[in-house]
C-alpha cells in the first residue's frame, strides 16, 4: 500500500499535542483534578455526573492493620488514586468459596496477603505519577451493558472521547480481550474501535499485532477474537450515545481541561458512568479512527461559549464524517462548509520579507461564494500580506475610480498596460462591480491553504465593504469542492 506523505500532516504527534494543546488549554489547576481520581469523583458528583460507586478508600498502611477484609464484596475494582495508563488497576470478578481470596479476570486468585502487598505498593506510589505516596480506591465493578457484553472478554469496555473547546472531536471504544487481562488499553492487547461522532456507530477496529523491541505494530481487525462465535466490530450502536456526548462535554465544563480525554463506561443499570478524566490523552485514538486529529482540532481553535446542545450538533456535523467520506470518495471532491478558515501566506515575490514568524501567514474566515467567478481579497489584508507595493503601483496608473457600465470597465482593463516584470504578483487588471459601481481593480496571485490543501489562487483586491469576510472564494476555485451549508460555523 503506498504511503501518502500528506496524510502525515493530519496526524497529531506528541510534540504538537504538548505544545499546542496541553500547555495552552490545560492549566495546572485542571491537571491536578484529572490526576486525582478522588477529587475528580467529588467534582463530578457535585454536578450530578455519575461515577462508579466508591466502596472504600485506604490512605495509610496503618489502616490496613485494621482493615476488615471480610467486608469486601464478591466483585470490585482496585485502583491507585494517581495511577497512569491503567497501572495498578485490578478487577476482581468473584470470591473463592470459603476463603478470603478473590478471582481476577485471568482466573488467577489473589488472597488477602497478596492483595495487601498490592495495596502497599499502591500506597508506596509504585504505580503513581511522580513516585509520591498514593491512596487506594476500592470501587464497585460496573455491570456490563448487554449490548456491549458480547464483544468484551471478561471486562468492561470504555469509551474514550476527545473534547476540545467543548466540542466532541473523536471517539473510540476499547474492548478487553483474552490477552489484555480485563484491561481495555490498546498496548495491553485490547481492541480499539473508532466511533462515528454523528451516529455513535463503530467504524474501524485495530488491535496490537506484535510487541517488539523496536515499535509495537497494530493491525486491523474485523471481528472479536475470543468467543466461540465472533461478532463483527463495525456497526455496533453505542447505547446512550447522545447522553455520553453530553456527559463528556459537561466534564470539560466542570474540570476546565480544554483538551480533554474522557473515559466513560456504560453500566446496565446506571447508564453512562465516568471512569476517568485525562488531561494528557493518548494519540492511539487516531489509529482506531484511521484519521488524524489535527485538521479537526484546527477547525475548533478560537470557538467559545457554545451551549452543550450546540457543541454536540457542531461535533456531529463537523466530524460525523462517514457520509461525507463516501461522497468525497464517489465524487473525488472534498466537502467544505460555507465559511472556512483560510491561511493566507505572505507575498513570496516581495523582496521585503517579514521579520517575525507570525507575520508570514494569517488565518482568516473565508466565505465560499458561488455568486462570483474570481475570488476576492480585502485590500487591507492584501497590504498586510506584502502586496502593498503592487497595490500602490496599480493605484498610480490613474485609473478612473468608477465606470458607467461593467462593459466599459472591461474594455478599459483590456487596454491597460501593466508592468508585470516588476510586479509579478499582479496577474491582470479585473473589472468588477463593487458597492453598485463598476471598477477596475488589480487581480493578484495569492498563496493560500484551505482544508489542508496549499494552492495559488487569483484574487481581486477590493475594499470588501459589502461583506464581513476578508476573503471571498469564487467559482473558479470551488470546482474542486462540494459545499455543505450544514458544516458552516462562525467564530
Amino acid at each position: 500500500m503506498p504511503i501518502q506523505v500528506g496524510k502525515y500532516k493530519t496526524i497529531l504527534g506528541i510534540n504538537r499535542r504538548n505544545q499546542e494543546y496541553i500547555r495552552p488549554y490545560n492549566p495546572l489547576s485542571s491537571k491536578k483534578i484529572s490526576d486525582n481520581k478522588i477529587l475528580t469523583k467529588r467534582l463530578l458528583a457535585k454536578a450530578d455526573i455519575k461515577t462508579p460507586k466508591t466502596i472504600k478508600i485506604i490512605r495509610t498502611k496503618k489502616q490496613l492493620d485494621f482493615f476488615d477484609w471480610e467486608s469486601l464484596p464478591k466483585s470490585f475494582v482496585v485502583k491507585p488514586n494517581r495511577g497512569t495508563g491503567g497501572n495498578g488497576i485490578i478487577v476482581f470478578y468473584g470470591r473463592k468459596k470459603g476463603q478470603t481470596a478473590w478471582i481476577r479476570s485471568n482466573h488467577k486468585v489473589m488472597n488477602k496477603e497478596q492483595l495487601r502487598i498490592h495495596f502497599e505498593k499502591i500506597l508506596d506510589g509504585s504505580f503513581s505519577m511522580g513516585d509520591s505516596k498514593d491512596i487506594v480506591i476500592i470501587e464497585e465493578r460496573i455491570l456490563n451493558h448487554s449490548t456491549l457484553k458480547k464483544y468484551s472478554f471478561r471486562g468492561v469496555p470504555d469509551i474514550r472521547l476527545i473534547i476540545f473547546n467543548k466540542v466532541p472531536v473523536m471517539a473510540m471504544i476499547r474492548f478487553p480481550t483474552k490477552i489484555s487481562d480485563g484491561k481495555a488499553n490498546l498496548h495491553s492487547g485490547g481492541i480499539c474501535v473508532g466511533i462515528n461522532i454523528a451516529t455513535g456507530i463503530t467504524t474501524n477496529a485495530i488491535q496490537l499485532k506484535k510487541k517488539s523491541i523496536l515499535e509495537n505494530t497494530y493491525s486491523k481487525v474485523q471481528y472479536t477474537t475470543d468467543f466461540q462465535e465472533n461478532l463483527p466490530l463495525e456497526g455496533i450502536e453505542i447505547p446512550h450515545w447522545d447522553k455520553v456526548l453530553e456527559i463528556a462535554i459537561r466534564c470539560q465544563e466542570i474540570s476546565n481541561i480544554g483538551f480533554l480525554g474522557v473515559d466513560i463506561a456504560i453500566d446496565e443499570n446506571n447508564g453512562p458512568l465516568v471512569f476517568e478524566l485525562n488531561s494528557r490523552p493518548g494519540l492511539g485514538i487516531q489509529m482506531a479512527n484511521n484519521i488524524g486529529l489535527r485538521p479537526r482540532l484546527e477547525r475548533l481553535k478560537g470557538i467559545e461559549s457554545l451551549s452543550i446542545k450546540r457543541a454536540i450538533r457542531l461535533g456531529k456535523t463537523l466530524f460525523g464524517g462517514e457520509v461525507d467520506e463516501c461522497i468525497q470518495f464517489a465524487s473525488g471532491k472534498q466537502i467544505l462548509g460555507l465559511i472556512e478558515k483560510v491561511v493566507v501566506h505572505y507575498n513570496a515575490k516581495n523582496s521585503i520579507k517579514p521579520k517575525k514568524q507570525k507575520d508570514k501567514f494569517q488565518t482568516v474566515n473565508a466565505l465560499l461564494s458561488t455568486g462570483i467567478l474570481t475570488s476576492r481579497i480585502d485590500e487591507g489584508l492584501a497590504k498586510r500580506m506584502g502586496y502593498e507595493e503592487a497595490i500602490s503601483y496599480f493605484n498610480s496608473l490613474n485609473i478612473p475610480p468608477s465606470f458607467e457600465t461593467i462593459e466599459e470597465a472591461k474594455k478599459y482593463s483590456k487596454k491597460l498596460k501593466i508592468d508585470y516584470k516588476n510586479h509579478p504578483e499582479i496577474s491582470k487588471p479585473a473589472a468588477i462591480v463593487e458597492s453598485a459601481k463598476a471598477k477596475v481593480k488589480p487581480s493578484i496571485l495569492l498563496e493560500i491553504q484551505i482544508n489542508g490543501d496549499s494552492k495559488e489562487i487569483e484574487a481581486i483586491v477590493s475594499t470588501q465593504k459589502d461583506t464581513i469576510y476578508p476573503i471571498l472564494f469564487g467559482r473558479k476555485e470551488l470546482k474542486e469542492y462540494l459545499i455543505d451549508p450544514g458544516k458552516t460555523f462562525v467564530k
Binding site: M1, I3, Y8, I14, N15, R116, D124, S126, I213, Y218
Partner: protein, 221 residues
C-alpha cells in the same frame, strides 16, 4: 575570543584539571543528544541523568567491560525484583536488597571475567585499574530500571533501557574523540549554538521519527 582563551587557560592551570573541564564541557553535548533523541527521534530514555551517567561511566570502565557490568546490573535487578515481588516490605528496604543482589552478582561477574579465558578486559582497561566510581555509576541504573519496570510492561522497559544504553554509547563515543575534546576546549562559544539548538527543539512541534512508524497504517489508507 582572546579573553575567553586566557580565562580558559587560567581555569585549566589554576582551578581544575583539563580532564574535569573536558567532562564538564561534554555535559551540554550529551544532554543535547538526549534532548534530540527524545523530541526528534522519539527515544524514551530513563531521563537525562541515566544516559549521561552511562556515557561517563563507560569512559572509566571501557565500553566492553561497561556493557558487561550494565548487563549484570539489569539481570540482577530483574532477578531481585521477581524474587521480592511477593514479599511485604518497605520500598527502600526493597531497593536496598536489590543493591545487595547487584553487589554480589557484580562481584561474581568480575571474578568469572577475570578467570575466564574469554575475559573481555583489555590491556587498556584492566579490572584492577577500573575506577570503582565507573562501576557504581552503572549500578545506579538499577534504580531507573526498576522504577520503570514497576509501572510499565517488560518490553517497554527493555525498550527504554536499550535506548538509554544506545545514547550512553554514543555519548561515550563522542567523549572518546580527542578532536572533539580539543574542539570543545578551544571553542567554548559552541555552547551558544548548542543553547539555541535546545531552544529550537523546545519549540519543535512536528512528528517524531518514531511517530512515522507508529502512524504508518493511517498514512497508507
Amino acid at each position: 575570543m582572546e579573553e575567553v582563551n586566557i580565562i580558559l587557560s587560567w581555569i585549566k592551570d589554576s582551578v581544575i584539571t583539563e580532564e574535569i573541564l573536558i567532562f564538564m564541557l561534554f555535559i551540554p553535548i550529551i544532554a543535547t543528544l538526549v534532548n534530540v533523541s527524545r523530541y526528534v527521534i522519539g527515544f524514551r530514555t530513563f531521563g537525562i541523568y541515566a544516559p549521561m551517567t552511562l556515557a561517563f561511566a563507560y569512559v572509566f570502565t571501557g565500553l566492553r567491560f561497561g556493557l558487561l557490568v550494565t548487563l549484570a546490573v539489569v539481570i540482577s535487578s530483574l532477578l531481585s525484583y521477581s524474587l521480592l515481588k511477593q514479599v511485604r516490605m518497605h520500598y527502600l528496604s526493597r531497593i536496598t536488597i536489590n543493591y545487595i543482589f547487584i553487589t554480589f552478582i557484580l562481584l561474581g561477574v568480575l571474578i568469572v571475567n577475570e578467570l575466564s579465558p574469554w575475559s573481555i578486559t583489555t590491556d587498556h582497561h584492566q579490572i584492577s585499574t577500573v575506577p570503582p566510581l565507573g562501576i557504581i555509576l552503572i549500578a545506579a541504573l538499577s534504580d531507573f530500571f526498576v522504577k520503570e519496570y514497576v509501572k510499565k510492561d517488560f518490553l517497554t522497559t527493555i525498550r527504554s533501557l536499550i535506548e538509554t544504553i544506545m545514547i550512553g554509547v554514543i555519548g561515550w563515543f563522542l567523549l572518546q574523540s580527542q578532536n572533539l575534546q580539543q574542539f570543545l576546549v578551544q571553542n567554548i562559544w559552541i555552547n551558544i549554538p548548542i543553547l539555541l539548538l535546545n531552544l529550537l527543539i523546545g519549540q519543535y512541534k512536528e512528528l517524531r521519527f518514531k511517530d512515522f512508524f507508529r502512524f504508518k497504517k493511517i498514512s497508507e489508507e
